[in-house]
């Protein structure tokens, strides 16, 4: 345990989404390079690395040669942001299970970050179980920042009880081939379920989003806004289904998927649908795929904003409508900053990290 103090700062992965007062948990799936000891099968320590925030705890998930299962149970604390940073350093396939349990009437903030370190062909299967109990509210931000060879499949199983509220924002900053499969069940009345996603892809990257949202109880509101900016030969696929059961009267459900194609060869497919069995509901859905507006571009250029800057402003604006759903101002700002860097083709690494993982 003493050894941690002597790790050069730069060799530690520092996902410094600089959240004041956040509790940070680093979860490694292997031995990070530079650790000065060999056997770290179970680590649970508290250490101050003097980076940006205090690292409360570092978990090391032991694994066998073939694959392993890593489980994280998150019981967020009402006042703080709980940030769990999952760092992949070991190339064998990994299954992970994350459970977020929100007690009745509580207000919770959780950030899940997934990173890969190194140029390995990582493969991750994640199961994220979210249970928002009666009257509780959860603000969950998922940040995906992995290398172009990585494959990541995340299955979200969500259950909302009466008057529960969830805001899920998935930001796919960089990933090789990522699937986010969300199954959300509104089990109690007067619940609110907001599912949002922003995906940025280029090269040969693929981003798939599957959403099934079931309204099983009435007077609930759901909204979905998934937006993608696609460059190079990247592909995105969105399939979204909202089911309103016969019991779910007075449901409001909105769903939108918008894609901005910034290269000729990028492709987006979108398949939103509504299945409604109740008659007193307000529902809408829609999808778009388009390129940047020439008129807007000319207007900006006529003010002296170069074409490159004008395009970045437009893309930031496009992304901004998803990012503004992130309630925490500091986190929102940090994400906007990372998105801007990504759009500019700069590093999207978290500050202070020396690993070239993307």
């Amino acid at each position: 345990m003493e050894g941690f103090r002597y790790i050069p700062k730069k060799q530690l992965f520092d996902c410094s989404v600089p959240l004041t007062g956040a509790r940070k948990f680093f979860v490694w799936d292997g031995v990070p390079e530079g650790l000065p000891f060999e056997n770290v099968s179970s680590l649970d320590c508290s250490a101050d690395f003097g980076i940006s925030t205090r690292v409360e705890r570092i978990h090391y998930a032991p694994r066998d040669a073939e694959s392993s299962l890593k489980a994280t149970i998150i019981k967020p604390n009402g006042e703080e942001i709980t940030q769990v940073i999952s760092v992949r350093v070991s190339p064998s396939p990994l299954s992970e299970r994350t459970v977020i349990e929100c007690s009745p009437e509580g207000k919770y903030n959780v950030v899940l970050c997934s990173h890969t370190v190194g140029q390995e062909r990582f493969s991750t299967k994640g199961q994220i179980e979210i249970h928002v109990c009666r009257g509780a509210s959860l603000d969950l931000v998922v940040m995906q920042n992995e290398n172009s060879l990585s494959r990541h499949e995340s299955n979200y199983r969500i259950r909302l009880e009466e008057e529960a509220s969830l805001s899920l924002n998935i930001v796919t900053l960089h990933a090789g081939n990522v699937t986010n499969r969300i199954h959300s069940l509104i089990a109690g009345k007067k619940a609110t379920c907001n599912l949002n996603g922003l995906y940025l892809a280029d090269g040969q990257q693929i981003v798939d989003t599957d959403v099934v949202l079931v309204h099983n109880a009435g007077e609930s509101v759901s909204s979905q806004l998934f937006k993608g900016i696609l460059d190079g030969n990247s592909r995105s696929r969105f399939e979204g289904e909202v089911v309103v059961s016969p019991a779910a009267q007075k449901t409001e459900a909105y769903q939108a998927n918008n894609n901005l194609l910034i290269s000729e060869s990028a492709r987006a497919s979108s398949d939103p649908h509504l299945v409604i069995y109740a008659d007193d509901v307000k529902c809408s859905h829609g999808s778009t795929a388009g390129s940047v507006g020439d008129e807007e571009l000319f207007y900006m250029r006529s003010r002296g904003i170069s074409e490159k800057e004008a395009r970045i402003l437009q893309q930031q604006a496009f992304a901004g409508t998803v990012l503004e759903k992130v309630a925490h101002p500091e986190l929102r700002e940090r994400l906007s900053h990372l998105v801007e860097k990504r759009l500019r083709g700069e590093d999207t690494l978290c500050a202070g990290c020396s690993k070239r993982c993307c």
Binding site: E296, S302, G304, I305, Q316, A317
Partner: protein, 248 residues
Amino acid sequence: MENLLEIKNLHARIGDKEILKGINLVIRPGEVHAIMGRNGSGKSTLSAVLAGNSNYTVTEGSVTYLGQDLLKMSPEERSWAGIFLGFQYPVEIPGVTNVNFMKTAVNEHRRQKNLPPLSAAEYLKMMREKMAYVEMDPSFSSRGVNVGFSGGEKKRNEVFQMAMLSPRLAILDETDSGLDVDALRIVANGVNRLKTAENAFVVITHYQRLLDYIVPDVVHVLYKGRIVKTAGKELAAEVEAHGYEEFE
């Protein structure tokens, strides 16, 4: 004195349709020119061509701005060189705030002059000062560019942007359209405050009323893609009284 702008025999088309059929125009520093004409006479095409809108193709003629071939310059290069187009229909840019938009523009102009970018405080001070020119509420700065602005607010925003960029040559394309008398006066006052002996304005309009506030040195009548008459400010009153028929 050196000419600011010299247009010679300018022909331009959109698609297969020729709209400008040989425009000749010389503008010197300190001058205000008014270009009047009916819908479809080519007024907006002329302004779009001068600002570098790629929807229009120049087929013949030349445009020289401060000794440079303007037609070879990109829209942003024209802006950096001091040309400003006040749009007839200012474009809405959802998600880009006015403050971010203008700050980016001002700092790009500064970068071209090898000046450091303005600090947030310096920018704010400049912005407040220029907003006052057009009696614009500072709350507009945090809104999306032109999003949800009324017609008058959009035009005020154009003049505000002009004030921020202090151009050498400003072309105002029907800045008066859709304005009530009060908004017209505010916009015109803003323009008049920016007039110097160094810069010049081209005011494009259908009507004389704007020219009561922004008094031109020269008035041109554009008809079917050509300037058919050029005279002093009295020409505007003549057009107002008799319409465009006599030029047909």
